[in-house]
Symmetry: C2
Subunit: 203 residues, 2 copies
DNA sequence: GACATATTCATACATACGTATGAATGATTC
DNA sequence: GAATCATTCATACGTATGTATGAATATGTC
């Protein structure tokens, strides 16, 4: 009678969607349970509390994100190519709640949820590893890999949410695939200039 | 008997601090009025509603930010030098609530407060202007000024909040002034590599 | 089919929220 | 100094929140 997957699964899916879009505070347990066609008590019963559900969501969403991340990092190709692939993924992938959630949590003084910290460290470590690799083979210029990793990730993270600004300035319209391509080209270009020892700048 | 400035002022100051640190949802009217040593009704009376107060806060915080921004942009020096000055300011300035508030609002699907959109457009337009200037005199490489402006601002915005991540990876500890300097040097370096037609990369 | 366990469900509880209200006090004007 | 206005104050209202409770039902086990 309910939607196919079991309650825990439905709650996780709905909660992931809502938390990513609205933030923890703006989403009520009633929002989640009603959309998941579950009883109000279901969150308490299956997860213990709203916050525990939130952490479970981060864990799951983060796992998906980190897997995409790591799998692209393990692909064949030069370090720079793999970095570009990751950045493109983070910038363009639909239904990628992780970056938004990370940004929102970072933009608070309240303590960061532990699973979120783990997620960020893991991904930054992956990125820093690629950068170190490139530095060893001479294709990536010197600099602290950790800081460079943050600078690299800053691009797709910010341009992703930044496309919400109605900008004559940048003329960004996320829906349009042409614009999408232009964005990717721009960001990959910036990454190249930032990292490469042989920047192919055209001016 | 109250703190010196008048109620409206105290409410604005306290609200700016709290909203910046915790976010709109996490701050209650009671939090604000009690800390401002004002009556519970004061927000309604002086501003009309909590949301109106929020918008007033954005307006004020944004005005301060935009002024710092514009004043640094109008300083003497090459476009790149002025861009570096702005970026350093955004990265290091204490009590600069605007970047955090902007990031948090961007990381939501809910409509952006109008004053915040105005603020972002104004600052990005200023930055894009500097970039155009540098492109005309040949010191800054080609590319859409609007997109480049976003990429430039992404650095201090993200590294600012990013310093909350306990990172062995990056070894960032905001308190330490040595680290602060290292951060500034890094970010200015990245900006140079991203924009300059004569990158002074040391490798 | 009886029992035990797991899950669902409706409802209750205590608390917190934003805002409204109306009386009390303060300041200003003539 | 009476009258008018602006502000402060305590309190009330309605609603929403997260969680707890205990009965009802489903599921699994022997």
């Amino acid at each position: 009678m309910n939607d196919s997957p079991d309650v825990t699964e439905r709650l996780l899916a709905v909660a992931a969607d809502l938390f990513a879009r609205e933030g923890f505070d703006a989403v009520s347990v009633r929002d989640i349970t009603s959309r998941a066609k579950a009883n109000l008590g279901a969150v308490t019963y299956h997860f213990g509390s709203k916050e525990a559900l939130f952490h479970a969501v981060i864990e799951r969403v983060g796992a998906g994100f980190a897997d995409r991340f790591a799998s692209l990092a393990a692909q064949p190709g030069t370090p720079l190519e793999r970095i570009a692939a990751i950045v493109t993924m983070v910038l363009t992938e639909r239904d990628l709640p992780a970056p938004t959630m990370i940004l929102r949590e970072l933009a608070t003084d309240r303590p960061l949820p532990a699973p979120l910290v783990r997620l960020m460290r893991r991904n930054l470590e992956t990125m820093a590893g690629l950068i170190r690799e490139g530095q060893h083979d001479g294709s990536i210029s010197k600099g602290e890999p950790g800081l460079l990793a943050m600078s690299v990730m800053a691009q797709p993270f910010l341009l992703r949410v930044g496309s919400r600004i109605p900008l004559d300035v940048a003329g960004v319209d996320r829906a349009d695939p042409k614009t999408q391509q232009r964005l990717v080209k721009h960001v990959v270009g910036i990454i190249h200039r930032s990292l490469s020892t042989h920047p192919q700048g055209r001016s």
